[in-house]
Every structure is written in C-alpha cells, then in structure tokens.
Amino acid sequence: MFMNMNNLIPLLPLLPLTALLIGFLFHNTREKEIYRANLAGIGFNLIIIIILFIQWIFQDKVPLSHKGILLYQTSLDAIDMSFYIDGYGFVFLFSATILTLLIVVFSKTYLHREPGYKRFFNNLKAFYAGLITIIIAANFETLFIGWEILGITSFFLIGFYRDRYIPVKNALKVVSLYRIADVSLLLVMWEAHHLFQGSIRFEELSSALAGMDTNIEFNSGLLLISILVILAAVVKSAQFPFSSWLPRAMEGPTSSSAIFYGALSVHIGLLLLIRTGPIWEGIPSVKALIMGIGLVTVFSATLVARIQPSIKTQIAYSTIAQIGLMFVEISLGWYQLAMFHFVGNAFLRSYQLLVSPSVLSYKIHDQFFNFIRPQPQKKEGFFNRLKLSLYLLGIHEFYFDENQYKWLWRPLKKVGTALNFIAAKQMISLGLLLFFLGLVGVYSQPYLPAGFRYGLPYIFAILALMVLLKAFTLRGKVIEIWGLVILNQLFLTLSIGYNESFDYSQIHLYLSGILLSFMIGLYVFRNLKKAGLATDLSTYQGNVYVKPTLAFVFALACLGMIGFPITPTFLGEELILGHIHSGQYLLMTLIMGSLLIVGLVIFRTYSRLFLGIHMKGMHIRSYRSA
C-alpha cells in the first residue's frame, strides 16, 4: 500500500552536500542565506527520515536498504555505495538530525558576525553529511567514506580559530589519532575482503558467517577484524587510553563543541560496534575486551572529571565515562539500553556544553549562599594516600598525552631522525633514481630472478616508509617534504606493481590523483613565494591570514594526496588494497604505515604552512598560550 520510498535514502547525504555547494556561493556577510541553506539542507532530511521511518514501521521494521552507485567494478570485484537503515540507524538518524538542526538555529545568532560564519556552517553540513553516511552505510566501504569526511571536518572545526596556536595544535593532535582509526578501518576492509571474498554488507554478516566453514585461519581473521574495529571505535569514542583528545577538541565555538564532541562524533564508535556485532559477538575474549575497555574508561574518565577545574573538560570526561558504560552495555548485548543511553547522554552533554558559560554566575551565586569550606585533607593512612594518588593521577590525566607521545609518535620521530645522515634533497634525487630503475624493472619482470622479484614489493614498501619518516621529522622547506611525499607514493605504486600483475588503469587512476595534487601543491608554493611569504615548516606560518583562497586550494590538494573520498586517489587506495594478498601481513603493515604517516605529514604540512599565528605585518596577534 506504500510506495517504495527507499529511493529517498541516497538523498540523506546528498541533500546536505547540495546545501554545502549552495553555501559556498554566498559571501561570509550573507548570514541569512547561509543559514537558510543549512536549515533547508538538514530540515528536508528530517522530513525524509520521518517518511522512511513511517515506511519502516509499516513494513514490520524490516530494515530499509538501497543499493547505491557503483564506485568501481572489475570482473572480480565490485565496490558500491550501499545504504541500509535499521532501528539503530533510525535512533542515530533522528538524534543526529534533530540535534544538528537545533544547533543550526542556535548558531545562527551565536556566530553572528564571526569571520568564519560561512566556514562554520559549511563544515557543519559536510560533517553532517559524513555522519549520515556512516549511519546509513551498508558496508565498510561506504562507512569509511563517511568516516573520512568526519575526520577532515573535525580537523577544520577544531582548528576553527585558525590564526591561533592551540586550536591548530590540537586539531593536528586529534586528527593524528583519528588517522589511527582510519588505518584500522582500512585494514578491516582489507581483511574482510579476503575473508568474505569481496565487499560484504553488514546485514549479510550473520548469514555469511553461519554459512562459512570455520577454520583457524578464518577465526584469526575474525579476531583481527574485531580488534581493529575496537581500536577504531575506541579512538573515535575517546575511550581508554585515547581519552585526552576529546577535551582538546573543544576549541571551536561552544555550539560546535556541544554537538560534535559532546554528542554526535564521539558516540559513533558505538554504531561501529553494533554494525560489526555479528563478527565479534561470538568471540568471548573480544567481548571481554570491550567490557574491559569500557570499565577502565568509566573509572579513569570519571576520576578526571571529578578533579577538573574546567567545565567543558569536565563535561567531556563525563561524556567519555558514560560512553564507557555504553561499551559495557554493548559487550553484554544490551543494544537497546545502549541506544536509550546514547540518546539521553548526547542531548544531556550537548546541552550542558551549550549552557556551560552560565555555570560561572550560577555556581558563584549558589556558593554565595551555600558555601561550606571543605574539611582539610588528611595525609596519613592508606586510604588518604590512595585518594591523593588518585587525585594526582587525575590531575595528570592518567598521563594519557605523555604516553601517546612516548609510544606513538616518538618512535616514529626517532626513526626519522636516524635518517639525518642523508639530506632531503639527496634522498629525493636518489629516490627518483631508484624509482626509475624500479620502473624499468616492472617492464622486465620476467628477467628478474624470482627470489629477488618476491622481495621487491617489500623493499619498495620499506623505501616508501623511510622517505615518509624522513618527511615526518623534517622541519625545513615545504618543497622538500612535498617531494618526499610524492616519492613515497611512487614507491608504493612500485611495491604494488611488483606484488601483482600491473593493472595500468587502476594505477593510473591512483597516480592521476596524486600527480594532480602534487602539481597544485607546487603552484601554491610558488604563489606564496611570489607574495614574499615564508614557506619553511620550522614554525606555523599562518599564511591563511593573507591568502585564504590559496589555503583552500592547498587543502584540496592535501585531500587528494591522502586519498580523501571522492578524490581519485581514494578509489586507487581501495583498489590497491585489493592487490595485497591475504596473509601478506608484513607488506600490509608496511603499506598501512605509509598511509598512516602520510596523513600525519600532509596535515602537518598544511597546518604549518597556512595555520597558526601569522607574524608578518602590523595586525593583532594572539598569545601563543591563549
């Protein structure tokens, strides 16, 4: 009796994206138009969601699904953008849409006359589109597209005050951690591809698993996927030991902190766990792991929240703690409770954040009438000592930041510094030479000794990683870093090329994206130099202050370089993964290492070149510590 409304589903990400394009048309001072484009883009979505919801109810709650456009197809494989919505999807859809809509209305006035008014609303739409894509994704590939959009927009929203130091620093910090989650998901996709012989839809997971004859290899593959999924979820939901990024993400206007980091972005790890439930539900150790992480997070985050002098940080940690509880609920299979919990927590925390500036006068007023001086703390006895130790642990935020640096970034830096014996320039020339030799080698593969040939993918993957690590520690000229990055990509291509028979069309697709980005980069550097602006990366140059358009162009080039969805590089990236055989874990690790670090290098390059405090000329400069 109902028309099939499923064809409306693709509109959900498309409408906000269309609104984004419309938003681009207006000048920053045309606040009304920008606002209306936003309101319409998200408002229509709400209507569509309601229509879909009604249909779903009348369909006896059979999940809605829609097979979207084919991204790429070969005789063996197909990657499509597919969507489906089930009950959990609706919970997330409604929460996300209603909250975003409310925040749009709130921000209309709140951001009035902000120099970044347009930027804010454009990011908001992109963010929302990414979020919706994740929620309605039917497979890992689609989810990953949304996931990447979310990551990038987070970077821009955290670094919204781009002419200041700390927001930019923290944006970089957060996006670096996000990169770990991104790479985990890429690995998940790769492993799932091999396990299920192609792209698998989430709804088919249970039946697919039931039909498989399980063996040790298959089970360990599932375990690997589970662990990687958990890693991605833990990072994105700021669980132990990655909690410290969340308060540092609260650098933008209060309204954006409220919605993204208080409510939506941070809960997305739950959805990922639910979607992949069939994979890990059967593995008790994984369930225990999820529960364990949840419990540890509950403890650590609550403790830090208790001793926080900053209100927004306190709310951030309370959010994290509640999400920890939700992890526990999920691990116990109580998905529906987790959904209620999510909705309540999302609205509670985002509202608490929105009105957090009120707390000053409210609590001072309360203190005026009700203050009782706390009892002095005692020093002696085990429990007092324990309490004080916990206090100290809380004030040091469980040493999260320190350990992240120590275990994640410092080793990379150390390797990079070890390469100091060779200058970047020499490395590039030497690298290019090696590349051409390698290229010749590709065409003459049959003549190469077999053992040597099998080793080549590894050698080039290692070379790729090395040039990147060099770039990672380099502080000098941007052009050198850019050169190292492109060299990395070239080596990667060779590595893949030696690993399997060369498919030129795929490689071309990949390289076309990379080379175009590379050229745009060169154009940008030349322009900056012409304008007499600094291009060395020893410090944040803040060139966006003078050249905002150039910054935008360069941002696009950077997205191309890291394989952001909708760039050709992205497709190439996905396809390349298909060319690494199952079981080639070492090669995969090396290549993933490259993909991880290239993200860090590119984001850093963009930030140092364009963001931060601009030092040239007579104008207002913020304090570095503010």
Partner: protein
Amino acid sequence: MQIQSFDENKVLDDLHHYLPSQLSLKDFVHHNPLHNFQHLSFFDAIFKASKNFGCQVTLSLEEYRSLYQDGRIRDEILSFIIADQYEETQVSNWRYNLLQKDYPYSFEPNIGGIRSFWKKVYQIDLDNHVHPLLFRYIGSFLDQGVALWHFPFEDNGLIQAIRDLDRSSFQGVFKSKRTRELLHQNHLSIKHLLDLVVGDPEAYSNYLLDQQFAHRGWSGLFAATESSPETLFYRKKSSLKDLILFELLMELDVLDSNLDKQWKPLGKAIQLPKIKYFENHHLTELETVLSIWQRAFEWDYYDEVLAGIQTAAKIPRKSSHKVSFQSVFCIDDRECSIRRHFEKVDKNCQTYGAPGFFGAAFYFQPQGGKFYEKNCPVPVTPKHLIKEYDVKDKQKHELLHHPRTHTVISGFFASLSIGLWAAVRMVYDLFFPKMRPDISNAFAHMNRYGQLKIENDSLDDLENGLQVGYTIEEMANVVEGILQGIGLTEDFAPIVYIIAHGSSSANNPHHGAHDCGACSGRPGAVNARVFAFMANHSKVRSILEDRGISIPSVTWFVGAMHDTASDEIAYYDLNDLNENSLRHHLENVPSIELALDFNAKERSRRFASINTNSDLKRIRKAIKNRSVSYFEPRPELGHGTNSICLVGNRETTKSLVLDRRAFLQSYDPFSDPKGIILAKILGPLPVVCGGINLEYYFSRMDVERMGAGTKLPHHVMGLVGVSNSSDGDLRPGLPLQMIENHDPVRLVMIIEQSPLIVENILNSTPSMKEWFSNEWIFLFALNPSDHSLHRYKGNQFYPYQTLKKIEAQKGDFIKQVERKDSMKTNHILDATKENLPVYVYEHE
C-alpha cells in the same frame, strides 16, 4: 668571578606591577589595563607597553589611511592636528609621512626574548611541556567549585601543598629525582632554581618576566588574588612566588627528563642577549605617525561633539512648567538615551545623573548570604553593612548543572532522565526563551519584596567591623551630597525616581561588565532603594531642612532599577507610598513604559536580528528575549562607543543627541561659584568613566592581547575566569562581542564651569590631574556665562574654536534611528559608520 645581584623582591614587585590585575570574573570592574603606565603621557605609555608586550595600541596605518579616504577623518582635522604639534615648515613633511610614506614593520616584543632560546638551543618547546599541566595545577588550586574533589592542602599555599601531595601520594609529582629533592629542600629559593635552569644572573629578571608573561592570565590572577584574597569566596593562599617556584621546578623536571643529562643551564649554553625591559621608550617615526592619526581620529569626533554642545547651549531655555516627576539616573552612558526618551515622552519631567551608587557606599548582605557584596566604587572601602531580611522566595536550582551528572551511576540516570528532557528543553529555550535559574538576573541580586535593614539601631550594632545600617546624621549627609552635587535642591516634583541599573544576560561569564561600574560591577538596586529610604525619612528631611534643602512633604522618593539589557524598570517599596503619591506614580508609569519602548527601538538599530521599523511592542519583546537567550552573545552592547563625559546642567545640553555615547553627570555651575561641589563630584569620574573608556579602548585595539578574544569558544575555568581552551591561559579583558562596535577614542570630558575654577581643582588634586595632563582623558571647559569652549592642554586651559558648525534642526530624532543600517562587518571601517553623527534638535 663577578656575581651579579639578582633582586627577587624587585622582580616580584615588577610582576605585580605589570601583570593584568583583573580579579575573579565575578568581580569584573572596568579599569585602565595600562594603569601602571599612567604616570607617562598617553602615547609614550602605550608604545612602551607595545614594545614590551607586543600588543597593538593603535589601529594600523592602512586602517587610518582608509578612514581618511572614507571621510571619517576629515582633512581639516588632520591639518589642525599636525599644525597643533609642529612648526609650519614641517607640516608638509608630516602630511607626506602620514598619507604616503611606506614604513616597514617588524614584530619584536621585548618580553619572551630570553626564553625563546630554549627552542633555538635545545629544540625543546618548554611551554608546550609545562603549560597544560601547570594550568591544571593552578586552575585546580584556585578552583571555586567546578571540581568535585577540591585541591588538597590549599590552605598552606601552592608549594607546600605540592610538597604534601608529593610526599603523601604513591607516585609523586615530578619525574626526575633531582626535582623531587629540590621540592623538599628547606629553603628553596627562586635564585637557586634559576642558577640551575638559567645560570646567568644577569638574565634572571628577564627570564622570570618572560616566563610569567607567557601565561599572563593565570599569573595575573595569582598575583591579584594574593593582594585581594577576598575576591574568592573559597579563599586560597596564593602567592606569585609559589607559582614561580613551582614553574621553575616543572621546567627543571621537563628538561631533566627530556634532554637526559646532556643539558646545561641556558645562560651557560650560550651568551644570552642583554636587553633591558621597560626602558624608557622613544617614539619611532612610525609610532609618531600613528599617534598623529589616532589624535586626528579622535579629534574629528570631539570637534563635532563640541560644536554640538555650543549650538545646544545657545538654544534658549523654556520657561519652567510644573514638573511632573524627576528621576535620577546613573551617569552610565547607556542611560544617555533613556533619559532623552523620558524627556521626550513627558516634556515636564526632569532627569539627573549621578554615579549609580547614589552616595551610599556599603556592603550588602542578601538574606542567607554567607558573604558580603560591595556595592560602591572599587577604590572606596565602605564602613556600612546593609542586610536583607524577610525574603520569602526560595533559591531556584538548575538540574542540568548538578555535579552529580558527572558521576557514573547518577550520570547514567541523568542521561536517561534529564538527558531526554534536555531535548525538549532545548527546543523550548531556542524558540521561547525565558528567565531560568542559571541566567544572571539583574532583579535577583536583591529580592524585590524582601526588606532592608537601613536604619542603624545603635552604634554598637557591628558585624565584622561594619556598622549595620546608617545613622540619621549619616543618611542626611548622603542625601545632601547627592542632591547638592546634581543641583536638585529646590522645586521638587511629587515623585523623584532614583533609578539604578543592572543587566540581565544568559550564558555570559562577563555579566559583571554589564552591571553598574559604580557599584563594583553589580546591579545598583540596593543603592537606589537605600537612597530613597534615606530621602523619605522624616528625621533626615528635617536635618536637610536645617541645611537649606527643603523637601516638601508631598514629595516621595521611589527607588527603581533599569535593566539595560531587557529595558525593564522595576520599582521598589511601592507599598510605602501614600494614596496621593501612588496616584502620581501610576500616572507616570505609562510614560516611562513608552520611553522604554523607544529606548528599545533606539538600541535595536544595532541588532541585526531586530527590525527597527517594526512595531514598538514587538521590538520591546525581542529586546527582552535577548536578555534571556542562551544563544545570544550580545544581550546588550555594554559601554561600546562610550567616549564623552558631560558634567553640567542637563538643561544646557538637553537638545543634544549624543547617541548613547556620553556619561552624564548633573551639576549646576551657578549654585557652585567656588567649585567646592565640583571638586567633590569630579572625584570618582576619571576612575569610573576613564577606566571604562580605556578598557574598551585597549580591548578594541588588540582584542587578543588586551581583550579576551571572541567569547564563542570560552571555557569557564574554576569559576574565576575564562580561557579559550582546556589547556589555555586565562583571558582577562573584554570579549570581542562587547567591543566590536566601539570606536577606540579616548574619553573627552566637558565640564560646564569656568576654566579657572576647573584649573584650580586640578592643581589641588595631582592624582586627578595626571589623567588630563598626560592625556589619558581630554578635558574641556564650557564657560557657563558665555558658552565659550576652553581646551585643557599641558597644564592650563586655552580658548577653543570648533572647526565644524552644527545647526539645530526640527523634527523627531527617532527617524534617524529608523534610517540607519547596522554595520556590515565589525572591521573599524564598517563599525565606525554605524555611529550616528551629533544632532541638535530644537525643543518643540
């Protein structure tokens, strides 16, 4: 080896001297942020500050030139300013410099110079390592009640608390063993730590200045709470010395653990440059050019104001009608417009202006309050206490802010209960905003229906050294002081309103900056009520009668308060009015409401969200909504655009429209031939009005380094201040949303009195004279006998002829308001266009 002496006390003094002196945000009071430079003449001072702190203190050269192109700085003014300072032969040269010459600009502030060598020598970003943790420690130490666990051992000062914490915990505060041992040393001295960290005694002082100014917000608050501990309800024993010791230890710890053993003190590793901070600064040519432009920018407006004043003063006064009512307002610039509307709506009313504490300086204790609130100008130390009683309303709570939402189990239930309810609440607050317990309500400062203990029972009735209530004699002195000061000593109307002001706003940590500056940043309702009580007291009136001020028995004083954000007026103690007075009052209410409507309309022209041409009542409702909307960062615009202080008879300048830019102090020169009254009322004006003006000036010139930046990302820290981020420094000063419409010009004060008398007063009070002779405030005298203008320059008055002439016009000023668009952007070129020119309207 020659040992350079390092004077620890001198550095601590310097730091106390130069660090921002803003107290806890609840006690926000406007002051000159560069008050420590006030002994210098204005431009010497600000460029010296700029050289040291790296702050912008003027607009940029391009901006001035654009203002000139736009006609905002008239050419004749520019010529006048150059000619005013230079010989004729130099004029063309300076004109070239101002208009065409290119000047290179490099940004090299003194402070920060020494410590930057850490990065250069050891590639270590010390601040990045130290700041986040340090801020969390001192934030927790000063915290007033955000954290659920308070900082332990805070009674003993920071360092002792850290020691106890270190000793009693399992893991300890520091990583390196050396630091830990140093922490527990008996006579830990700054000097000793500097020996280890810096090693070059000549650089010690500068190093400490660098270090503390790298987080001037936190250090400033630490220093300020050291000298005024009462600014925190939950008192802490803060001392700057402790902070420095702790920071040096943290630096040492970071260096030890990150650079292994291979580092030497900075001054031993390289030869540190020998820069002298805070040396006397000679203006560079660029700075001179900027100072001339700034003068011209200011003078362009002053000249227009002065021309307006002269035109207005010459309009003959009307013969006096029967006065319908009188009202005494605060001198606040925001009351400038409401007074105009009062006078327009009821042509027979009279308005007066006096500092909004109305001469009654006291501490106020609301019923149930555990502390006192100071309701008078900051420099005054009150001897009286006013207590509230008989309040029936209960304190209201906001569940959303309950600390239990941050614990695990209650947090869980809160999510499932108030969390879901928050969704509904959000919709409601967005579309139907209304007053909530967490919105700062100006009318909640004192309960409207409670009672005040105003009359002292006996001189022994003391509380903490304060006398509870005023004696009759004291009351008479207060009332006499005010009435004489404003020149209201006869012809009393049946009702005299004493109208204080306050401001309601939502989601606004800076709400204190919107309240009454003369009441230490609080709503002045108590003061108005107390004054009205005093003036109505029969015994007071009989004393006044003896002193020559005869208040007829039909006259009744009514205390009231104007909410400058919501444009509402509340009246107090109406029950005390007799039938006759009540009838008079009720007759006035509709006029006052209409005046408020018009005031709202006039204010709305600067608000993009309100259509100034729509229905009066709708505008009024929209204005009211702004004051209770969480999403509105501009509930009102505060003192933005303030630039004038008029001291004189209201009748003289009644027909002058100064937008909302003037502080208006009433004063009758004819009743004060010797200037005795003038000397008294001038006292608080430079500090209050000049303080506000300069705070706006500097926050506008550099909203990042002197102001608090945009308020949108602000985190509330420990209920004492705001910062931009979780790991950020505190941000003293005014936020962008308050200052964006402000034209940064110094205050110009015009006194209606003969220049000779004013000069005499200044010569006898050097502290006041400094404001004018160093040009932190410009001063003019309007001679009441012939309306001639006199400019104060150097140390004396000179006659002044305005360059501009302004004609009086007929019609209705409100039409000008309807025509004016709000500014396109908040860049100075657009912002200055939003201001209205000076108008003079003849009496109808």
